[in-house]
Amino acid sequence: MPWLRKSIFFVFLAVYLITCPILILYVLGYVMRPGTAQGMMRTGLISLATAPPGASIYVGGRRYLRRTPAVLDGLAPGEYGLKVILKHYHPWVRTVQVEGEKATVLEKIVLAPTHPAARVLVPEPIKELTPVPETRFVVLSTGPKIEDLVVYDRDAAEPRPLIPLDSPFRGSRVLSSVVVNESPFLLLRLRAEEGEAYLSVSLKSGEARQADLLTLFPGKPQEVTWEPRRPYQLFSVQDGSVHRVDLEARAVSPSIAERVRGFGIHDQRLYVLTEDGLLQRRDPDGGRIDTLFQDPLPGGGLARASGFFRIIVLADDLIVVLGERGELWVSRFPDRWIDTGVRGVEFDPRGERLLIWRKDRVGVLDCAGQDPNPLWMAEGGNDIRQAFWVYEASHVLFQDGPAIFLLEREPAASPAPTSLLLRVRAGSAVAYAEEVGGLYYLDRESQALSFLEVIPRP
C-alpha cells in the first residue's frame, strides 16, 4: 500500500497546486477570459434580493437564469442596465455601476405592487389615529369622549375599548394625550364633571390609574414623559421645574430640578438643559449632577434660542437636543446643528444615522461620519409630518399632507424616484410597524383603519 499511498498523494498534491490558485483568483473576482491581454479579467458582482423574492432578473436586456435572491458574478467592470420583474408588481429598473473586485449590493429592493391591496381592519369611520411607536398598539378615536377611544392590538388583530364599560371616567372629554416610544401606556388629560384629571391607561389591560397631577400643576405642563419600563413614574416639566410623580406610591417629588429649559429621560437618568446653557445628567431624584456640555448650541446659541427643548438620548455618547422651533443639535464631533425647522427625528442604531424631516424635506444625518451636514433625500414637500425608517433602514417612508411616499435611502446609481404609495385621511397620523413591514392608516374615503403591506412578504 505505501506505493499506492505515495502515488495518490502526488495526484492530490497536483490537484491542490492547480486548483488552489484558480479558486483563489475566482474568489478575488478574477476569471479566465481567453483573448484578453493576460488571459485573465478582473470582475465584479451584483448581489440582488427583492421583497418579495422570486423576481426575474434582466441584465442588459438578457434574462438571467436565476431569480432573486441571486448573486450575478463574473461581470466585467462597467455600467449595466438592470431590470427586476415580478408579476403583479411594478418593474424595478436601474442602471448599475460594477467595479472590478467590488460587489454592488442591492439586497433591499422593495417591489411596489401594481394594485396595492390594503386590508380594512376596523370598518367603522375613525376620526383620529394615535400611533404608539415601537409597540403593537395604535389608539383610535371615534369621538371626543374617553369611551370613544379604541385600542387596536396588532397581535389580537381586533379593536377593543380603551377603558372598561363600567369605568368611572366614562363621559369625560379627552383634551390631549401623550405617548412614549416603546411604552404601551397612554396618558390622557380629561375634563370630567369634577374638573380636569390626568389618567394613565395601560393599552394591554385597559387598567387605568388616575394621576393626581392637577393638584400640583393646575396648568398644562410643557412636557410629561416616563421611561417605558416605569410607566407609573411620571416626570413633568412646568415653569422651568421638573417634578416626579409616582402613581403606585401616590407620592410626589416636586421640583427635583429647576431652571430647566430642556428635558429628557434615559436609563433612569434625567437629562436637563439649564437656563445657563448646561446640558446635565442627574439621578432620578435630581441629585448627583454631571455636566455633559456647556451651552451645546454653537456660538452660545442657547441664550438666543427660545422655547422648550426635548432631549433625546440615543446612546451614552449620542444625545439629540430638539427645540420647539426645530433647532437640532447632535452631540457628536463635528457639531451637527440645524438652526430651525426640524419637525422630528428617528434613529437607526445599526448605521448610527438620524432620519430628520422638516416641513418640506426629508434627510439623513450621519452621526458616525465626518460630514456635519444632512443629506436631503427628498425636497419640495408641502407638509411633511412623519417619517419612518423602513426595511432595516434601507428605505424611508414619509407622510406629506395626506400623501405617503416611499424612497430608497441609497439609490443604486441613478436617483431613485420617490414613489407615492397612497393617500390617507387628511390630517390624520399613520403608524408604521417594521415587524410586519406595513402601514396602519385611516382610509381617505371611508376613514376605516386600514393596513397596507409596504414590504411584500413571500
Binding site: M1, P2, L4, R5, I8, F9, F12, V15, Y16, T19, C20, L23, I24, Y26, V27, L28, G29, T43, G44, L45, S47, V71, D73, E101, K102, A103, T104, V105
Partner: protein, 510 residues
C-alpha cells in the same frame, strides 16, 4: 546512539533547547488561531483567501484519508478471515531457520493496573486463555501500583491464582511508589514489571530475541487471533527485533453504554489509526501494542517519567537505533473501553481528560527533536518527514476544528463595510459551503463504515435507536472543537507554559 529520552536532568544548552522546543507547538497553534482571528478583522480579504486555501487543502486531505480508510477497512475485513496460525507455520518453514521456531517464541503480556478493579482487567485475561495461540507460551504480568488500594492488590492475587495454570506463568508485580527518577506514570509501572519479567526469562534461559512483549491497557480485550497474527508478523519481519507491532485499537467494550458523542469520538480515533496503518513508513505506536522484548531491554524500557509512554517507546527506539526501527501495522483489533462515567456530565469531563492525555503526546516533540539534532546516522529526509508529521499532527489537532468551525467564518460574520462590498465577501462563503458539501462524501463514508465496524447492539435495542446512532455524527463539529481541539490546545499550552501534566487514570465504567 546513547540518548537520554527525558526532559529531566538536562543542563545548559540542552535544557534551553528543550524549553524552546516545548514552547514551539503551543506558540504555533496560538499564533495560527490568534493570527487568523486578528487577520479576520484587520485584513478580512486576506483572511478569507487563506481560509479558502486551507478549506481546499482540508477537503483533499479528507478525501485522501477517506480513500485509505476504505482500503484499510477492507483489509481489516479480509484479515478477519485469515488463519494466522497456518500462515505463521508457513512463515516458519519459509524462514528456514533464520527465525525462531513457533514453539520457541514466548509472549510477555504486561497489564498495568493503577486502581482498576478486577471487572476491568479480568475479561482481557480470560480472553488471553481463549487465544488461538497456546496460552502456555504466554507469560502474563499484572503490574500493580503499590499505591493502589489494598483491595486491588488482593484482587490481583486472586486473579493470579485463578489463571496461573493456563499460562507459562502469571506474575503479580507490585511497583514501589516513589522510585528515584520516576514520575507517577504508567510507563514507570510497566518498566518495573518488564524488568521483573526479564529476570524471570533470564532465570529460565529464554533468549530475549525470541520474546515478544505486549503492553496493554487494563481494559484491553484483544481479538482471539491477536497473538497468532502477532507471531506471524514477528516471524515474517526480517528486522523483527527492531520492530513494534501496532494493532488497530477499537473502543467496543462498552460502546453501547456511553453517550453518543463519546462513541463518535472514539470511533473517529479508531478510524484515524486505520488510516495511519496504511502508512507504515511514518507509523508510530499508540495505546496497546507489541514489540520485541530484546529491543525493549536494549532501549532501556519505557520512559519512566512521561505520560505518553505508548508513542514515546517508538521514538526512544527510533533514536536508540538511529532510525533503524519501524512499526508494522497489524490488521487485527484490540478493544478497549470508551472513557465513561455514571453521568453524562462526568463522561464529558472524563473524555476531555482522556483526550488531553492523548494530546499530551506532544511532550515527545521537544525530546525527539533534540534527539534528531544529535543523531547523525538518521537520514535528513527521514528526520524531516518524521519531525513534520509529529509537529503538523499536533498543530492540526489543536487548530483545524477551530479554523473549520469558527474562525473560518468570522470574516463573513463580522464583515466591515469595505469587505462586505467586495467580491470576496460573496464568493468566499459560497466556495466554503461547496467545499463542506463535498466533504460530506468523507463524512457519509465514515458513517457507513462506523456502522460496519461497530459490534452488534445489545439484543432488544429498538431499531429506531439504532438508526439514531447514525445521526450521532451530526455532533462532530461540536465535539471536534470541545473534546478534541480544546484538550489538544490545553495540552500544548501547558507544555508551552511549563505546567506539566500529571498522569490521570481514565475512569472506566462497566
Amino acid at each position: 546512539m546513547t540518548f537520554r529520552f527525558s526532559r529531566h536532568g538536562l543542563q545548559g544548552f540542552d535544557k534551553r533547547l528543550e524549553r524552546l522546543l516545548e514552547i514551539l507547538p503551543g506558540a504555533t497553534s496560538w499564533t495560527i488561531l490568534v493570527g487568523m482571528l486578528v487577520l479576520s478583522f484587520w485584513r478580512p480579504r486576506l483572511a478569507a483567501v487563506l481560509v479558502i486555501a486551507f478549506d481546499l487543502y482540508w477537503l483533499l486531505r479528507l478525501l485522501y484519508m477517506t480513500l485509505f480508510l476504505v482500503l484499510s477497512y477492507l483489509k481489516l475485513t479480509r484479515h478477519r478471515e485469515t488463519d494466522w496460525m497456518a500462515r505463521a507455520r508457513q512463515s516458519e518453514r519459509l524462514t528456514n531457520g533464520s527465525a525462531p521456531r513457533l514453539q520457541e517464541i514466548s509472549h510477555v503480556v504486561i497489564i498495568p493496573v493503577a486502581k482498576e478493579s478486577r471487572e476491568i482487567y479480568e475479561p482481557g485475561i480470560e480472553n488471553l486463555v481463549r487465544q488461538h495461540w497456546p496460552s502456555r507460551q504466554m507469560l502474563v504480568v499484572l503490574a500493580v501500583e503499590e499505591r493502589a488500594p489494598a483491595g486491588v492488590k488482593e484482587e490481583a492475587r486472586a486473579v493470579q491464582q485463578r489463571y496461573r495454570e493456563h499460562f507459562l506463568d502469571f506474575l503479580v508485580v507490585v511497583h514501589p511508589d516513589g522510585l528515584p527518577g520516576e514520575a507517577r506514570v504508567k510507563g514507570a509501572n510497566a518498566t518495573y514489571a518488564a524488568k521483573e519479567a526479564a529476570a524471570w526469562l533470564q532465570g529460565r534461559g529464554i533468549p530475549f530475541e525470541r520474546v515478544v512483549v505486549s503492553c496493554f491497557d487494563a481494559d484491553t480485550v484483544v481479538s482471539p487471533a491477536y497473538f497468532t497474527c502477532l507471531t506471524y508478523h514477528f516471524l515474517a519481519c526480517p528486522t523483527r527485533t527492531r520492530t513494534s507491532f501496532q494493532p488497530i485499537p477499537v473502543y467496543h467494550n462498552n460502546i453501547w453504554d456511553v453517550p453518543g458523542f463519546a462513541r463518535v469520538l472514539d470511533v473517529g480515533a479508531s478510524f484515524f489509526q486505520l488510516v495511519e496503518a496504511t502508512n507504515p513508513e511514518k507509523l508510530v505506536t499508540f495505546s496497546s501494542h507489541s514489540m520485541s522484548f530484546k529491543a525493549l531491554v536494549e532501549v532501556g524500557y519505557w520512559p519512566v517519567d512521561m505520560i505518553s509512554d505508548d508513542s514515546a517507546i517508538f521514538w526512544k527506539a527510533f533514536l536508540h537505533y538511529e532510525g533503524d526501527y519501524q512499526v508494522v501495522p497489524m490488521y487485527v483489533t484490540v478493544s478497549m473501553d470508551v472513557a465513561a462515567s455514571e453521568s453524562w456530565r462526568k463522561t464529558v469531563v472524563n473524555v476531555y481528560k482522556q483526550k488531553r492525555r492523548w494530546a499530551w503526546g506532544v511532550e515527545n516533540f521537544p525530546i525527539v527533536m533534540r534527539g534528531f539534532f544529535r543523531a547523525r546516522r538518521i537520514p535528513l529526509l527521514a528526520k524531516l518527514k518524521h519531525a513534520f508529521k509529529l509537529f503538523e499532527g499536533h498543530i492540526a489537532w489543536a487548530t483545524w476544528p477551530f479554523l473549520l468551525g469558527i474562525i473560518g467564518w468570522i470574516p463573513a460574520w463580522f464583515a466591515g463595510q469595505v469587505f462586505s462590498n467586495s467580491v470576496v465577501y460573496y464568493t468566499a462563503p459560497r466556495i466554503a459551503i461547496t467545499i463542506f458539501q463535498l466533504s460530506s462524501i468523507g463524512l457519509l463514508t465514515t458513517v457507513v463504515l462506523s456502522q460496519c465496524l461497530l459490534p452488534r447492539p445489545p439484543v432488544g435495542r429498538p431499531w429506531l435507536k439504532r438508526v439514531g446512532h447514525t445521526f450521532e455524527w451530526c455532533v462532530i463539529p461540536f465535539t471536534a472543537i470541545m473534546l478534541s481541539a480544546v484538550p489538544a490546545l490545553d495540552a500544548q499550552t501547558r507544555l508551552m507554559l511549563g505546567r506539566y501534566l500529571e498522569f490521570w487514570v481514565t475512569e472506566k465504567k462497566r
